[in-house]
């Protein structure tokens, strides 16, 4: 009797496994057509991108390089959608993740220039209802929120239940408003440190900044960003509002650490879409236009840009983060920009003022990769 039961169970599990066999998908035969084939360093750049792509198991990558004295180059390698075997194109839209924060910071600086707010304003002054919910709201300044020195709790990185709830029901997370998320995961939490004491990256800062933008402008955040950033920078393939856009490059991750890449686009969309911390969809070309406009002084004033590129003085530790702009020191000098990481996305945009060089690197495996090859490409003699 027991033996029969075991046999039946084994047969049952065997059938279940049989239903999980590998299957082939029809390849997309569309060629990746690059208008940069005649670029003098096309072969060199394309080879470096392909090597990076294979080394870091990225289904697809886009690299944009702009150097002083050299024509712009953009290349793509790999796939944007493994299900459809669709070749990645240089103009494909990517989830930009936290690069969104720079756009939000720029919009805040614009409102400051218009006299609608000041960086010394406190969270409580700008959003009085937060006095009841966010510890320290009466003394946390806009400046501290922009530079991640406010001490406000970040559930994205510090609350396991936040991540588990996303995994449990992505559709529910997608439907939650920023206020819902704040109420569920942030309100009532203690400050992580005293405002201004040290650097502590917190997505909550930018959720609140998005709400401040909406309140001060009396418009939805998409409209605010469109008016204050997208239009002045001449961006036509960038948007912020939630859309079920099937053209957005799909994201992948070795989610179960079993050597297989799982399509995590649903989770990325649920975790970022419509959020001021990471909801931007853009292209490499639009990010370059934004970068040129920002660092060329076409969107914000020189004083605002200087403030964004000034590291705040903190009492403990160090920081490389200005106001919505991250920085790192390289052989090419200090680079300014931002990266954006979602589960299935690795997006990077940086500008090197000393060399007047810019790079944008998109990848659709969120597992992380060493991007130093880009510095080496930019370092090479013209």
């Amino acid at each position: 009797m027991k033996t029969k039961q075991i046999i039946h169970l084994a047969a049952f599990l065997g059938l279940a496994l049989a239903g999980c066999q590998e299957s082939q998908v029809a390849p997309d035969t569309t060629e990746t057509d690059s208008p940069y084939r005649d670029h003098p360093k096309n072969d060199q750049y394309q080879a470096a991108l392909s090597t990076f792509n294979k080394q870091w198991r990225q289904p697809g990558n886009i690299l944009l390089l702009k150097r002083a004295g050299e024509p712009l180059w953009t290349g793509a390698v790999g796939k944007s959608d493994l299900e459809r075997q669709r070749n990645l194109q240089i103009s494909d839209p990517f989830r930009a993740g936290s690069i969104t924060k720079t756009f939000v910071a720029v919009a805040i600086m614009k409102l400051q220039e218009e006299g609608k707010l000041q960086l010394e304003n406190t969270l409580g002054e700008l959003l009085p209802e937060m006095l009841q919910h966010i510890a320290g709201a009466d003394r946390i300044t806009l400046w501290q929120m922009l530079s991640h020195t406010s001490g406000i709790f970040d559930p994205v990185n510090d609350d396991a239940q936040y991540q588990l709830d996303l995994l449990n029901n992505p559709a529910k997370r997608l439907a939650m408003s920023t206020r819902d998320i704040l109420a569920r995961y942030v309100y009532g939490r203690k400050l992580q440190f005293e405002p201004g004491e040290r650097f502590g990256y917190s997505n909550t800062n930018y959720w609140l900044l998005g709400m401040i933008l909406e309140k001060k402008s009396e418009k939805r955040l998409q409209a605010v960003l469109d008016e204050l950033v997208f239009q002045p920078a001449d961006l036509h393939q960038t948007y912020f509002e939630p859309r079920d856009d099937r053209n957005v490059v799909r994201g992948y991750a070795d989610f179960y650490t079993n050597g297989k890449l799982m399509d995590v686009s649903l989770l990325d969309r649920a975790d970022s879409e419509g959020r001021a911390s990471g909801g931007l969809i853009t292209t490499a070309g639009d990010l370059l236009r934004f970068s040129d406009a920002l660092f060329g002084g076409k969107i914000v004033s020189a004083a605002s840009l200087k403030a964004m590129m000034t590291l705040p003085s903190i009492r403990q530790g160090t920081t490389e983060y200005g106001l919505g702009l991250d920085s790192y020191t390289s052989p090419l000098g200090v680079a300014w920009g931002h990266n954006g990481n979602l589960l299935g996305v690795d997006a990077n945009w940086f500008y090197f003022p000393d060399r007047k060089a810019t790079f944008v690197l998109f990848g659709n495996n969120g597992g992380g990769a060493d991007k130093s090859f880009v510095n080496k490409l930019l370092e090479k003699e013209l």
Binding site: Q161, N169, G259, L266
Partner: protein, 192 residues
């Protein structure tokens, strides 16, 4: 709706057999339960909807006294968690059950095998060509379990119970992906 229907069916089955004359000797215990699970840390304050499942098993007694039992159960089951995954499992737990009149409380700890099938597609890379092919996402995981419950035993030894259960998928990134579940079920004694 599905859960309440299944629960009603399980309870009806239990009552129907409970009304039959008690057997002179207890038969093989058959335990049937339905459960609602979610991917979550243990919490009662923010219970969320997740998936539904069914579990069938039996149990053995290391010690079986009128007021208490030391037990080991064996169960097999299935759950479906929309948008995320489905899982087939076989597990065993050991535990202790204390009776006060017809009522009881019990607690069990154990482990088993979980055949997990994520909803999202997975792909493998052919290292020689660098191309990605769709691959089976199914995988076996160790499934640690911890459960505690309350119930009632009828004179014919049939049980009704409700349990709070924790189980996990191991290994997963930071050790374990936790689930919690609320289950309700019945235990009948099949005639020998």
């Amino acid at each position: 709706m599905k859960l309440s229907f299944t629960l009603a069916l399980v309870c009806t089955l239990g009552v129907a057999i409970a009304q039959s004359p008690p057997a002179s000797r207890p038969g093989v215990p058959l335990t049937i339960s339905v459960f609602a699970e979610s991917i979550s840390l243990p919490t009662f304050s923010h219970m969320q909807k997740g998936g539904l499942g069914l579990k069938i098993g039996t149990e053995f007694y290391y010690r079986n006294r009128p007021g208490s039992q030391t037990i080991q159960n064996v169960a097999a089951g299935y759950y479906h968690h929309p948008q995320v995954q489905s899982g087939w499992f076989v597990n065993t737990s050991v535990g202790y059950r204390k009776f006060v009149g017809g009522f009881f409380v019990d607690a069990l700890v154990g482990g088993g095998a979980l055949l997990l099938r994520p909803v999202a597609p997975s792909y493998t890379c052919d290292e020689s060509t660098g191309t990605y092919r769709k691959a089976s996402a199914a995988q076996f995981k160790f499934m640690p379990t911890l459960q505690t419950g309350i119930g009632y035993r009828l004179p014919n030894r049939a049980l009704f119970f409700a349990r709070y259960e924790l189980f996990g998928e191991m290994p997963f990134r930071s050790v374990v992906l936790p689930h919690q579940a609320i289950s309700a079920g019945t235990q009948l004694h099949l005639p020998k």
